[in-house]
């Protein structure tokens, strides 16, 4: 079993009349157990910058949809800046947690509560021909033959930037699931989201489409200045 420990020490000789010395060691375990956590994002370091103050954007550190919700995840973030006035503002979803000023670090648990993802079923039907195409999410499938199950298999085999697929061999349907909880349109997947080009009367209709809901706990940080600022981060998760 992996052993991961987090140790904090807080010291001050002059904040109180007596010396303050606080130390704590935690062995990071999975939720509700004594088994050590086994996964990490690895330590990352990134420098942010923008063309102007007006162009500053928040950076997404971690998307909740990538991790299992309600577990004993832990997030470490550090602002490596040495300029006192420079800070990163840390948000979970829209809630501002606080500001990390120059040299500050934080370590917190993270629920990783995601929303639900859009889902839709695409059914390949009617008469297709080799060479017919169906484009979705910027990816084009070109039919190798006229068999609808083979075409469905071809669609399933492609890699879509924003969607994953589920397919059962010999069937003519593919279930598309959005990689991340819905964020923009909150509209259901529809047939018109795909572009069909067929010499026959082939169809690729969408059915059973479900609208998702937005992610509830993505972690973002926003730099206070548009000039270069650097942060380091580490996620330990289940």
């Amino acid at each position: 079993m992996a052993t991961t420990t987090a140790t904090i020490t807080i010291n001050s000789t002059d904040l109180l009349t007596d010396e303050l010395s606080l130390s704590s060691v935690s062995t990071l375990t999975t939720a509700g157990t004594s088994t050590g956590v086994t996964q990490t994002s690895g330590l990352a370091r990134k420098t942010t910058s923008a063309a102007s103050a007006a162009a500053i954007q928040a950076n997404v550190l971690y998307r909740a949809g990538d991790y299992t919700a309600d577990k004993a995840n832990k997030v470490y973030i550090k602002n490596t800046s040495s300029t006192a006035a420079e800070f990163f503002t840390v948000h979970i979803d829209q809630e501002e947690i606080g500001r990390l000023y120059a040299g500050d670090w934080m370590f917190m648990p993270w629920n990783a509560t995601s929303g639900t993802k859009r889902v839709g079923t695409v059914t390949i039907a009617a008469t297709w021909a080799a060479g017919d195409t169906w484009e979705f999410d910027g990816i084009t499938m070109t039919a190798a033959n006229s068999t609808v199950a083979d075409i469905a298999a071809q669609i399933d085999a492609l890699n879509y930037p924003n969607w994953t697929t589920t397919y059962v061999a010999t069937e003519a349907t593919i279930i598309f699931t959005e990689r991340y909880a819905s964020s923009a349109s909150y509209t259901a997947l529809v047939t018109a989201d795909g572009t069909l080009n067929t010499n026959g009367n082939g169809t690729a209709d969408v059915s059973s489409a479900a609208v998702g809901s937005k992610s509830e706990s993505d972690i973002t940080i926003r730099p206070s200045v548009h000039t270069a600022m650097t942060y380091e981060t580490l996620l330990i998760h289940e």
């Binding site: 991961t4 904090i8 010291n11 904040l15 109180l16 509700g32 809630e95 000023y101 648990p109 330990i236």
Partner: protein, 137 residues
């Protein structure tokens, strides 16, 4: 000025190579390197299950460099406290876990709230800040 340092070390063998991350910061007032946080409150309490409680009784000045340390001293690993801020779920501290965060307290709704689960949790917290808005009786 008061000088308070907070240091963290994370070590693990969960990668194929050992991992060790260390950081230390001197807790300063917002936007300065010359003036440290000079006020604190500290508490140790039993937190019963059931209701959600605000952890901090007074309201530290908003949008400053306040730091909050919170530890769940429960020894039962199934016990945990759920932490929310302004109804936003942050995470869960299981028995033995601690957290250290910048706390913005952007307004009255920005209080840190905690809820015990599993049984009565033993909680220790320390808030380092640069002033509070005291509540009138």
């Amino acid at each position: 000025m008061a000088t308070t340092t907070a240091a963290v070390t994370l070590t693990s063998d969960l990668l194929s190579d050992n991992m060790s991350v260390s950081a230390s910061t001197t807790c300063m007032k917002a936007g300065t390197t010359a003036d440290g946080l000079d006020q604190m409150e500290y508490g140790y309490l039993d937190l019963p299950t059931g209701d959600e409680y605000d952890l901090i009784a007074t309201t530290p000045t908003a949008t400053k460099a306040s730091k909050l340390y919170l530890k769940n001293h429960s020894t039962d690993e199934t016990y945990f406290i759920a932490i929310t801020q302004n109804s936003q779920a942050i995470g869960k501290l299981y028995g033995g876990d601690w957290m250290f965060i910048p706390a913005d307290f952007h307004d009255a709704a920005g209080d840190i709230a905690i809820t015990a689960n599993g049984g009565t949790n033993k909680i220790c917290y320390a808030l380092f800040h640069e002033g509070t808005a005291l509540l009138a009786t």
